[in-house]
Each structure stands twice: as C-alpha cells, then as structure tokens.
C-alpha cells in the first residue's frame, strides 16, 4: 500500500510539488528521499526572490555522512521558505510531505507541470529503483 500523496506531482530526482490553488506551489523532498539520507542536520534554502530554472540546484539537504542537492522541478520565483527548517531540519525526517516543506514558488510556465510524475508514476519509479 503506497503512502505517496495523490494531491501533488513528483520529479524523478525525488522532489514533490503541490498546487496551493492561490497561484503558488509548495516544494519539498519525498519521504523516500529523506529515508535514504537519514537524520538531517542542516537544510540550506534559497532566498526569497531568487529566480530558479527548472532542474537547477536550489537547496541542499545535509545528513552526517552525505549532502544532497535539491533540484527545482519547475521554473519560477521563490516567494517563501520554511524557516522552521533552520533550527529543526529533522522536521523533514518526521513529516517530509507536510511540515517538512521547503519553499514556495510562483510558476513561470504551467506547461512544465506536465513533465512531472503523478503519485502512481512516482511509485512505479521507486519500484524500479528497488
């Protein structure tokens, strides 16, 4: 039974993106990604106002023994970041799809969404990788 939420879309590099309905999209990493990384000790977030290209490295999640780039699944401008992560990076470990969101973005081109996977597609990807 999959726990992958169906209300959002996914990148192959394990980021999720959720339409908030007000023109903004929230971005985070998947539960699978946080499990691979282990206990996170630091999250480096982009600054509000930064313009991000699709596929650009926009954030870093750090565990004790690894550091991983987070790639922006779409093109747009950062409009908010999750400041909770600054003091409590473990929030991503605890709730990657909820309280552990990373930043919000204003999309430049909605058609980019079509390149992303839905929950079933992402589950299939995970099955393939396993």
């Amino acid at each position: 039974m999959s726990n992958t939420p169906t209300d959002r879309r996914y990148a192959k590099s394990h980021e999720w993106l959720k339409d908030e309905g007000d023109g903004s999209f929230t971005i985070g990493i998947t539960d699978h990604a946080q499990a691979l990384l282990g206990d996170l000790v630091f999250v480096d977030l982009p600054e509000v106002g930064t313009a991000l290209e699709v596929g650009s490295d926009c954030a870093v999640v750090e565990s004790v023994k690894a550091a991983s780039d987070v790639y922006c699944p779409v093109t747009g401008e950062v409009i908010a970041v999750n400041e909770v992560l600054d003091g409590a990076p473990e929030t991503i470990n605890e709730d990657a799809f909820g309280a552990g969101w990373m930043f919000k973005i204003k999309l430049t081109d909605n058609s980019e969404l079509e390149n992303l996977l839905d929950a079933a597609g992402y589950d299939a990807l995970l099955a393939e990788e396993a």
Partner: protein, 452 residues
C-alpha cells in the same frame, strides 16, 4: 607466504602489470645507507649551514619553545596517528583539536576555528574564497588586497584563486606611515567587492587602524578578512572586536605558537570566523557530543562541507592538514598561558624598539615609517641593502629582509625583527657589525683603497 598465495616468486605478484612498463634497477638513485652513515651525512649538512644570529622576521619568527612542547608532540601516539576517522580510537587527537579550537577562538575573539590549513598564506587564499561564497550582500568575486600585506601572501593568494576568476585589486600604502592608504581605499568605496583584507600588524610591522578599516568594509557591504600574527593577539585588540561588529574572518600563520623556524615549514595556517560563516569554512572541524551512554566525546563534524563527501562541491580540496603542528601549538599555548604569550609579545616589541634605537644611532640609518609597530621595523640604510646583508651574513649575522625587490620605492630598506630571544649582547653585536659594514662601504667610493 608465497605458497599461501599460490605463486612461486614475488615477481608473480606483479603479473597484471605489462612487462613493457617495468623499469629495472634505477642506477641514478644512490644505494641505501645504514643509519650511522646517514647520520654523519646529515650532521655535516646541518653544520655547514651554521647557526647565524637571526634578525629576520618577515613571516617566520624565532621564539622560545618550551621543552615540553616537542617532547609531548613527538610521542608516537600523536606523531604516528592519522586523521581521526575512527573517533572512538582517536579521542586524544580529537579532544586536543577541540581544545585548540577553544584556545584560538579565545585568542582571536571569534566564534569558530577550524583544525588548521597548510600555512598563513594559503589560509588567506582559503579565507578569500570563503568570503566570496559567504558574502550574502555581494555577488562580487573581487577582493581588496593591500600592498602592505606580505608580498609572498599576495603571490600565493593569486596562484590559488586565479583560476576561479577571483579578481584581486591592490590598495596602496601611505609613504609616510606605511599604513593602508585611505585615499586610495576611498576610490573603491562605490564599487562592489566581496571583502577587504586587513593585516595586523602589516608586513612593515606597522599597526593598522583596524577599527576604522573594519567599519569601512562593512559600510560598503564587504566582509572584513583579518590577517594577524597570533602572538600579537595576546597584546593587541583581537580581530573579533575590531570596529563596531568585529572582523568576519581571521586567518594567519600559526608558526609563532610553538613551531621552530625549520626553513619555512611545516607551520600551520589558522582560520577563524563568525558563527554565521561556519558552513563556508574549509578544513576539518571538531565538535563536542556524547556517546550512547551520554558520556562526553569528540568527533569530526560538519563533514558535508568537505571533499570526501561533497566532492566537486566541497568548500575546498584540502584533506591532510597540519595536525601535528596544531598539537604543538595547543601544548605551547597551554604552557605559556595568556600571561606568558603577552610577555613574549611585549618583550619582542621592546627588543625591536631597542634594536631600532641602536641601529638608528648609526649615521645614515633611519626608520622609514612613523607610528607604532608590533615587533618589526623598516630601516633605511645609507648603503645598498643587499650588499649590507651579504657582508653581515659573512660575519654570521642575518640582518633582516631586503625590501628593495618588492618595494623598490622605499630605497635601501630593511625589515628587521628582534624577538624575545635576542638579548642586549646580540643587539650590540649587530650594531657593531653594521657600523663596520657601513664604514667600509661608504669609504669605497672615496678610493681610500688602491684602485687595482
């Protein structure tokens, strides 16, 4: 052993290496020698270099090192261990490095210190790269570098940062004071720079007006990088307290803290910064933590900055550092204490004052810059500096560093230094010899000697 492996001859172990690549006996390498012969050779080599009386500073200083420092440092458990990758079996090195970080942050007045870089000059190059990454107000890759900074440091920084397209812009010095030229600096006030480098003391030994310079850098959106002599920090205002907010990064040569002159190395570079910049710091950092029973222990931390994890995105390529020199420095600082270091600094300052007084009493010898110095002073000679040094060296006195190559505008200028190890006899020895050298040189043009 060969039978266990299943081969007949040791050569068979190299069977995957193409025969055409084997090199055969290397006749150009001398045959091996027993320890007693190597010992005789090295004794002879050491002897011919002599032990001249040294008044050179210029980045490496002859200080007393307590006997216990190297007795302890060369214990096999420190000397022959490696990087503390297995923390449980390296608590000695790890705790010592944590103690080092504690002492350096106290001495410099900053939040964090790494566990060492190669030397002072390369530490400054790393500080420059760190400032370029860490300045959130500026995306500039330009750095203001004063000409009053050690010339070798300027060259090293250029070598190391050039290929990353970091631009170094030089700021001149005031011909009367030897200080960073404020007018020249102001010209850059409206431009975008990542950082201003501030030496204390500067290469001429002169004490810069660090408070004003630090505030100037911050006012213009730059980080302030301090390059200091750590011994001077026992007496002078620490970099973390400069100006309104303190310098952001401080680096320098750790040699005055327990490393012998030894022809220039191994020494160690130290690097401290504000807590905000810790993730931009290169090199190893040790953190205090607890084990599964809650007992205090020490471990390498923030390793995700480093090359073995972050690879091409690491803050630096540094791996091996100068651990053993830091071991010596930690023991040195412990034995000296704040009071001891302060006395050494004050005695070196006083001796250089006495040396200046003695030498400037000679006709034609004069100080070049006015103003306070730490323990070095620029003196102008009435004769060619280079010739004077050679003549002094022939009489076993190393009279200082010839500035005429790097600063031809200063004329026949020498940079001299008398640490706490030079006593009044030594100073008189130098004065007497310089007097004779000057006399013989200024007499030559008068053709008192026959013209062969």
């Amino acid at each position: 052993m060969l039978a266990t492996i299943g081969v007949g001859h040791i050569d068979a172990l190299f069977d995957e290496i193409p025969m055409a690549l084997r090199c055969g006996e290397l006749e150009a390498i001398p045959p091996g020698m027993p320890e007693m012969e190597v010992s005789r050779l090295m004794q002879a080599r050491a002897r011919i270099d002599g032990q001249p009386l040294c008044f050179i500073g210029a980045g490496a200083y002859d200080h007393h090192i307590p006997a216990a420092v190297w007795e302890l440092t060369t214990r096999g458990e420190f000397y022959t261990a490696y990087t503390p990758y297995q923390a449980e079996a390296s608590q000695g090195t790890l705790q010592l490095l944590y103690e080092y970080q504690s002492m350096m942050t106290a001495l410099i007045g900053m939040d964090v210190s790494n566990a060492s870089l190669y030397d002072g000059a390369s530490a400054l190059a790393e500080a420059v790269l760190m400032a370029v990454r860490g300045n959130r107000k500026s995306k500039s890759k330009r750095i203001l570098l004063p000409r009053s900074l050690h010339p070798a440091y300027r060259r090293v920084v250029r070598t190391i940062v050039r290929n990353q397209r970091v631009e170094l812009v030089e700021v001149g010095y005031d011909g009367n004071t030897g200080l960073i030229d404020r007018e020249d600096l102001e010209k850059h006030g409206g431009e975008d720079f990542a950082a201003l480098v501030i030496p204390q003391p500067n290469f001429f030994g002169v004490l810069e007006a660090v408070d004003g310079l630090t505030d100037w850098a911050h006012l213009h959106g730059m980080l302030a990088i301090a390059v200091v002599n750590p011994l001077a920090m026992a007496m002078l205002k620490p970099a973390g307290e400069w100006g309104e907010q303190g310098a952001d990064i401080c680096c320098g040569e750790g040699q005055p803290l327990g490393a012998p002159l030894a022809s220039g190395g191994p020494y160690f570079g130290f690097l401290c910064s504000t807590g905000k910049l810790v993730r931009q710091m290169p090199g190893r950092i040790i953190g205090k933590t607890v084990d599964v029973d809650g007992k205090t222990g020490y471990a390498l931390t923030l390793q995700a900055r480093e090359q073995h994890i972050r690879r091409s995105k690491a803050t630096s390529n540094i791996c091996t550092n100068q651990g053993l020199m830091v071991t010596a420095a930690t023991i040195h600082m412990t034995l000296m204490g704040a009071e001891g270091l302060q006395r050494v600094a004050a005695a070196s300052h006083a001796n250089t004052g006495k040396l200046t007084q003695a030498l400037t009493a000679l006709p034609g010898v004069e100080p070049v810059f006015e103003g306070a110095v730490f323990h070095e002073r620029v003196l102008r000679l009435p004769i060619e500096a280079n010739k004077a040094l050679r003549a002094l060296a022939a009489h076993n006195v190393l009279g200082g560093f010839d500035l005429s190559v790097d600063y031809p505008e200063l004329g026949d200028a020498l940079l001299v230094c008398a640490t706490e190890l030079r006593n009044e006899d030594d100073i008189e020895n130098y004065r007497g010899k310089l007097e004779r050298v000057i006399q013989s040189q200024v007499q030559t043009p008068c053709r008192l000697k026959p013209d062969w």
